[in-house]
């Protein structure tokens, strides 16, 4: 498809601004003005509407396709939450209003949403308090690691490293590292769990924290999780919970009860806010009692008269990590989702997510190698190692699934599984959808024996065939250039 810039026609307009209603009183001195105007497209409103409507049709999305992208929890995003976020009383509110004298009263509705959401997330995860400020999961991780650093600093300790398993999300070591910590990587044992011998060796009084996902990225719940936490606490280290996989355990166990000290959640995963093609997400962070004072400012507080206010007077706080109170629009959608589902609904989410993942695993285990274990939580990790013997890679299977109308699973992650395919069906997909996907996976496995070339050529039904990614990186073409 042509770029919007290539559709440009000199002099065409797509939007009319109001006529100027004030007298023109002067001009900005020349030295401050730009010499060349930005080359934005010159197109009509219909040009724009048609361009983006047609572009949208080139995407797979949850609303149009099964999207079992492991670790991303691509569940259905209820439509009514979009309506809620668009209510003018919420979407039109300027974030500086509550910072004016007496301004808290101008934002009581939004402050109440934030306050209630912090309480709900605390109860769901068993933590003492939450901040809704982090703007994405990885941003929550960074916030969490900053809280850990502030805690140790407050205790007069300068700890050096954070322990992270080799199966972790890439964001974990990246977040630990940019916050100023060394990363100590622990291998995974034969069962798919944190190798306890290496863990015990690495753990010492220089360990600031242990950063874990539970269930982990292999979809397994580590039965020794309490022991791992106790060992960390014994040397004064804190436990960090990467909440990317919370969809597996709602109402079944709570990170706070296990002994985790810091947790981030991905509202766009477990709490059904749309992923927006790569964001916006929201990554609220919860903490145990001893870390509450370090949370970023502002804090939303409830006054004795039942009104809500912002408190900035927290001298131990790590400061500002976001310009305001978080991705409010996203938080609001997640709040609406939690209110709609309620206690039983949330428990059923995890039960059915785990049921669907185990169903996929059970039906595919004869066709694909299993990475670890015989059952899983909310997602399962298969390996295309057997297919590789025929020269077929996980990538080829993924591309074949695209032709069948399915978004592929996450591939080549976790890094420790050869030819990994990580399937997270979520609770909102019907059995017939799962069955159709499973059949396509089985077909791919059989084609890998009978006609591997068919897999290597896929996809054939998309607007483009396989793209040359090497060329993209070697000769970067990252923007349109005017002729």
């Amino acid at each position: 498809m042509q770029l919007i810039f290539e559709k440009s026609r000199a002099g065409r307009k797509g939007f009319a601004l109001p006529e100027i209603d004030v007298p023109i009183t002067g001009a900005l001195p020349e030295k401050y003005c730009r010499k060349t105007q930005a080359n934005l497209p010159e197109v009509s409103e219909l040009d724009v509407v048609r361009h983006f409507s047609n572009l949208s049709r080139l995407n797979f999305s949850v609303d149009t396709n099964f999207y079992p992208l492991g670790s991303c929890t691509m569940k259905y995003n209820p439509k009514f939450t979009e309506k809620v976020a668009a209510m003018e009383g919420f979407s039109g509110l300027h974030p500086l209003l509550p910072q004016l004298l007496g301004g808290g009263m101008l934002a009581q509705g939004s402050l109440e949403v934030l306050y209630n959401m912090e309480r709900l997330l605390s109860e769901i995860t068993g933590m003492s308090a939450f901040t809704t400020q982090p703007l994405a999961g990885a941003h929550g991780e960074l916030t969490g690691v900053m809280l850990i650093a502030a805690y140790h600093k407050h205790n007069g300790e300068r700890r050096k490293h954070i322990i992270i398993p080799d199966s972790s999300h890439g964001t974990n070591p990246a977040s630990a590292s940019i916050a100023g910590y060394d990363v100590v990587v622990i291998p995974t044992d034969k069962e798919g769990f944190l190798d306890m011998r290496s863990y015990k060796q690495a753990l010492n009084r220089e360990t600031a924290a242990v950063m874990l996902t539970c269930p982990d990225t292999l979809g397994l719940f580590n039965p020794k999780i309490k022991e791992i936490a106790d060992l960390a606490h014994a040397v004064g280290a804190l436990m960090y919970y990467d909440g990317a996989n919370l969809n597996a355990i709602l109402g079944k166990c709570r990170p706070g009860d296990i002994g985790f000290d810091v947790i981030h959640l991905n509202l766009h995963k477990t709490f059904a806010t749309p992923h927006g093609g790569g964001g916006p997400g929201a990554g609220p962070v919860g903490v145990c009692e001893k870390l509450v004072d370090f949370l970023p400012i502002s804090r939303v507080v409830r006054r004795t008269d039942g009104t809500f206010a912002l408190d900035y007077h927290k001298h131990k706080s790590i400061g500002y990590i976001a310009p305001f109170y978080g991705n409010f629009g996203v938080i609001l959608k997640a709040y609406a989702y939690i209110l709609a589902l309620g206690k039983s609904g949330l428990i059923e989410v995890s039960e059915n997510a785990v049921l669907s993942a185990n169903y996929c695993l059970a039906r595919l285990k004869d066709y694909y190698a299993l990475a670890y274990g015989k059952s899983c939580m909310h997602e399962c990790v298969l390996s295309a190692a057997r297919q590789l013997e025929q020269g077929v890679h996980a990538l080829d299977i993924a591309k074949y699934l695209i032709d069948k109308g399915f978004h592929p699973p996450t591939i080549y992650f976790p890094l420790i599984v050869k030819e990994a395919m990580m399937i997270e069906p979520t609770e909102t997909e019907s059995k017939e959808t799962l069955d159709a996907f499973i059949e396509a996976m089985i077909e791919a496995a059989s084609l890998s024996k009978t006609n591997p070339e068919a897999l290597r050529l896929a996809p054939l039904s998309m607007p483009v065939k396989r793209l040359d990614e090497t060329r993209a990186a070697r000769v970067p073409d990252l923007r349109w250039q005017p002729k």
Binding site: M1, T25, S61, K83, S177, A340, L478
Partner: protein, 445 residues
């Protein structure tokens, strides 16, 4: 409502295929001692009830005030087509385009968005977006540290306090030296910046227009900074770039900013849009996703995520940033907004903002006791000195139906009587006149 389609019969069939008797069996891997101590969540409500409840809450927010508050976040009109198109479910219910063949719509949109940011800033390369203007500035500072191998950063105090506070919070454990230089006559104080500029300096950070609304040309600063082997970073306001000298024209190395003004609602602070653009030579130190054009097997143009060797999912603890999810949908809104306004419309929008603000300056100057600061030119936001504490004046003005500005004393010591006033294209001549007369009344009472 839980949006789960499984019927009881289907659940039984699935359990049978798995080979377990009940769903509880699937959770046996969680040790008994780890069951929740409590799970006190209210029971679910119908969609109708939830909407009614939230509608009530939304009415507790005051959005009927005539708004002159800016401070980096502006009340611009959003064309209806932005909402309609960003509301295409094939955009908003997709995720990061990891599989390019079934994500060409998103990848092309990101490529187009990157072009818009490069065009506005006059720089060479951008990315798929960052969280907000503050985190974008932090990423720029970290880039400068990596590129120069130096650890001292000079920050002009005309840079938003919100962003400076964020910058210091993120780097508090990284042994980076920050020097803040004062604002003189409204603009960045050259003398002070040059006094601190040395061969240990990684970057100088400035903002245009600065927090007080003053417009500047940083060409001279950029030149001096480059002589020291440091980088010049500017945080900019995109709507102003329809008129103001672009960072590229000034010789700035890294431009960042808050993209909220391009078709994104104020929404109480987010989701917003951080943007970043750099000179070509710094491309491989950029954080986050980048879309690039390439060809498929048949030599047809197509788009992919590229230069991924910088990123966390490949490079892990050695990545340029930890960012994964960004603000793609907000970037899409900014792209649609820029496309609708177009080349002429963007310039016209900037002119409209500038002229209305100039008119407001003249109107407020006529209010007795009020003095508009005119030491430097401004774009659509400016500072006025009131005869009374600005906090109290703002409080009184709220009762008259105006959010009349942001009291600078909240962010700067010694500026208790100063008010920061923003005027966008949405403010009519009549509203500006009423603002002036209400202010007159508020100051008298």
């Amino acid at each position: 409502m839980n949006y789960i389609p499984h019927t009881e019969t289907e659940k039984k069939e699935m359990l049978k295929a798995i080979g377990v008797a009940s769903i509880d069996d699937l959770f046996k891997c969680i040790p008994g001692g780890l069951r929740p101590k409590s799970f006190n969540i209210p029971e679910g409500k119908s969609e109708f009830e939830v909407i009614e409840y939230l509608k009530l809450l939304s009415c507790k927010n005051a959005i009927n005030l005539t708004n002159f508050v800016g401070g980096g976040f502006y009340d611009h009109y959003i064309p209806q087509a932005v909402d309609a198109l960003a509301g295409c479910a094939e955009f908003y219910t997709a995720y990061t385009p990891y599989q390019p063949e079934c994500s060409q719509g998103w990848l092309q949109a990101i490529y187009e968005y990157q072009t818009v940011i490069c065009e506005l800033t006059g720089l060479d390369v951008s990315n798929a977006s960052l969280y907000d203007g503050g985190t974008a500035l932090y990423e720029a500072a970290m880039m400068a540290i990596r590129l120069t191998g130096r650890r001292k950063i000079i920050v002009d105090s005309g840079v938003s306090l919100i962003y400076r506070t964020m910058l210091y919070a993120y780097t508090s454990n990284l042994s980076i030296e920050f020097v803040e230089t004062p604002v003189a006559h409204g603009q960045s104080c050259r003398e002070d910046i040059y006094k601190h500029l040395d061969d240990k300096t990684a970057a100088v950070i400035v903002q245009n227009p600065n927090f007080f609304g003053a417009v500047d040309d940083f060409s001279d600063i950029a030149q001096r900074v480059h002589k020291c082997g440091a980088l010049a970073i500017a945080s900019v306001y995109p709507v102003s770039l329809g008129m103001l000298k672009s960072p590229g024209e000034m010789g700035i190395d890294i431009a960042t900013g808050e993209g909220q003004s391009m078709g994104i609602p104020l929404s109480f602070g987010g989701p917003y849009l951080g943007f970043i653009a750099v000179k070509k030579e710094h491309m491989r130190q950029l954080p986050g996703r980048i879309a690039g054009a390439t060809v498929d097997k048949d030599n047809q143009r197509g788009f992919v995520l590229t230069l991924q060797a910088r990123e966390q999912h490949i490079r892990r603890e050695r990545a340029t940033s930890n960012i994964c999810s960004n603000e793609a949908l907000c970037a899409l809104r900014a792209l649609i907004y820029s496309s609708l306004l177009g080349k002429a419309g963007f310039r016209e929008l900037a002119g409209l903002n500038f002229q209305k603000a100039e008119f407001a300056k003249a109107a407020l100057d006529k209010v007795s006791g009020v003095k508009v600061k005119r030491s430097a030119p401004t774009f659509n936001e400016f500072t006025v000195c009131l005869p009374k504490n600005a906090d109290e004046v703002v409080y009184r003005m709220i009762n008259k139906g105006f959010a009349c500005g942001f009291p600078l004393g909240r962010f700067y010591r010694g500026l208790d009587n100063y008010l920061l006033v923003a005027v966008t294209e949405k403010r009519t001549k009549e509203e500006i006149m009423q603002f002036a007369s209400s202010l007159e009344a508020a100051l008298c009472s």
